[in-house]
């Protein structure tokens, strides 16, 4: 265990230094996570006007998308771009020789990417909060519940992103599959609208699928609009999907890595 921590810390340090060189470029990537929520913030505050939509007032939508902006960045999965290409180009080989699992490196890249972006994103976020000044409908309990929900979303998102990245062991088209996941996140993860606002049956589907738990759920938690039952259910779903994704992760890695050595790429 200790050598994993030491290795992980070393990876994180070196990746931070590495990514810091590209901070401007990375900030441009991160702008995606800023511009998109702003568009939907504007769309929904226009649609809401003075009325309430499925329990969301105009202010709630503004708050939702401001928090969503933060969550969508922190719970972003980048493994299809960072780890997938290693498999495709055969660059995984040297990493397999190290006395630490390659996914520790991938996790370090994931964390470093977000930390480096925070330097520029935090001022943007604070600026937007100050400009829009939405009323915060939650309280300290919802804030306290938000943190584990966010952590779970980050972990789930990482596992799912990794699963899609590992499709590269079998196909050169892993990006097409990844697009299915991003579409799901968009429609049912809380991006185009909070899950509560989705029309009837779509909402029921969204509550069952993992997208919400990897993205929108923490935002719903902090806004304090879920009752106790929905909260318990939501956390249980997060835990369930994480367990499932972790199992799939272990299985896919094991069978994928066999293929990798067999191909010898």
């Amino acid at each position: 265990m200790r050598h994993i921590l030491v290795g992980f810390a070393a990876f994180t340090r070196s990746e931070l230094a590495n990514l810091f060189q590209y901070r401007v470029m990375m900030f441009l990537y991160a702008l995606w996570d800023v511009v998109n929520p702003i568009i939907y913030l504007i769309v929904w505050s226009l649609v809401a006007g003075e009325r309430q939509i499925s329990g969301f007032s105009r202010d709630d939508f503004i708050m939702y998308y401001l928090v969503f902006m933060v969550v969508s960045h922190l719970a972003l999965a980048i493994e299809v771009y960072t780890f997938g290409p290693l498999i495709e180009r055969g660059q995984l080989s040297p990493r397999l020789l190290r006395p630490i699992h390659p996914w520790w490196h991938a996790a370090a890249v994931n964390i470093s990417y977000k930390v480096v972006n925070l330097i520029m994103l935090i001022p943007v976020w604070i600026g937007l909060f100050l400009v829009l000044r939405p009323a915060f409908p939650g309280d300290w309990i919802t804030v306290a519940l938000f943190l584990p929900a966010l952590a779970a979303a980050i972990v789930l998102s990482f596992f799912i992103g990794s699963l899609f990245a590992m499709l590269a062991f079998w196909t050169t088209r892993s990006f097409s599959f990844w697009q299915i996941w991003t579409s799901l996140l968009f429609l049912m993860g809380g991006q185009v609208a909070p899950v509560a606002v989705l029309p009837g049956f779509v909402r029921d589907v969204a509550v069952a699928l993992p997208a919400r738990y990897a993205l929108g759920f923490p935002v719903e938690v902090i806004l304090g609009q879920l009752d106790a039952g929905e909260l318990v259910m939501g956390f249980a779903m997060q835990a369930g999907w994480i367990a499932l994704a972790a199992l799939a992760f272990a299985f896919v890695w094991r069978s994928g890595i066999k293929r990798y050595s067999a191909v010898g790429a």
């Binding site: 470029m25 990537y29 504007i42 649609v47 579409s183 029309p199």
Partner: protein, 261 residues
Amino acid sequence: MRLARIAWAFLRSAVQHELAYRADFFGNVVRSLLGTGTAFGGLMVVFSHTESLGDWNFPQMLGLLGVFYVVQGVMAVFMSPSLNKTVEEVREGTFDYILVKPVPSQFIASTRRFVLWHVTDVALGVAIIVIAAGRLEDKVTLMDVLVFLAMIFTALSIVYAMWLSLTTLVFWWVRMENVTMIFNVFYETGRYPVEIFPFWLRQALTFIFPVAFITTVPARAITGREASWLTWIAPIVAIVVVLAASKFWRIGLSRYSSASS
């Protein structure tokens, strides 16, 4: 005439290149369908709670979405591949080979590479526009179509000028790998009519990053909405920005110093 022949040769070679990877084509069609389908689903969600968005009704918004994909497709076929390649070559110094050719550098930098499979986006965009036009309350007149075609043309000219200008920045900042991305981030705002944005943002999206001229203005024409003053100034804006971008390219070019020096 000679330039047209050269562009034709580039296009032919792109077709041959694409035909070599036919299997990819199917995957790309699926991706395009998924993209437009997702966007359509998003619109459905928004319109499940409202009749109109900033006085654009559902078929009109659909028309706007179609325009968005047509422009995006044309960009991805004809503009971004060549200009991204140029950025790469300037960085690596191989741009020398372009300069020594007896053809204007701007022409060759903007035409020599096409990625044809994105025509699926154009086709889907056109299909969406046709469907939207059929569901409008008022019939689309011939005049609407003519104004629309003119507006699409100005939109594409403006887009080209923007691409060229962004590309030209590479002569100052060598590390400009991802011009495509910068553009795409802001282009996303073109999925919605510019009128819905708050005042300052609307001004920025009209005059700084003129996405208003790129999607809103053509969509207004085809969905039978009254032409705004933006429609009338669009051709002038297009001419001015294309000339300015071309001038900017030449200024940038004079700074090019190859890789070794």
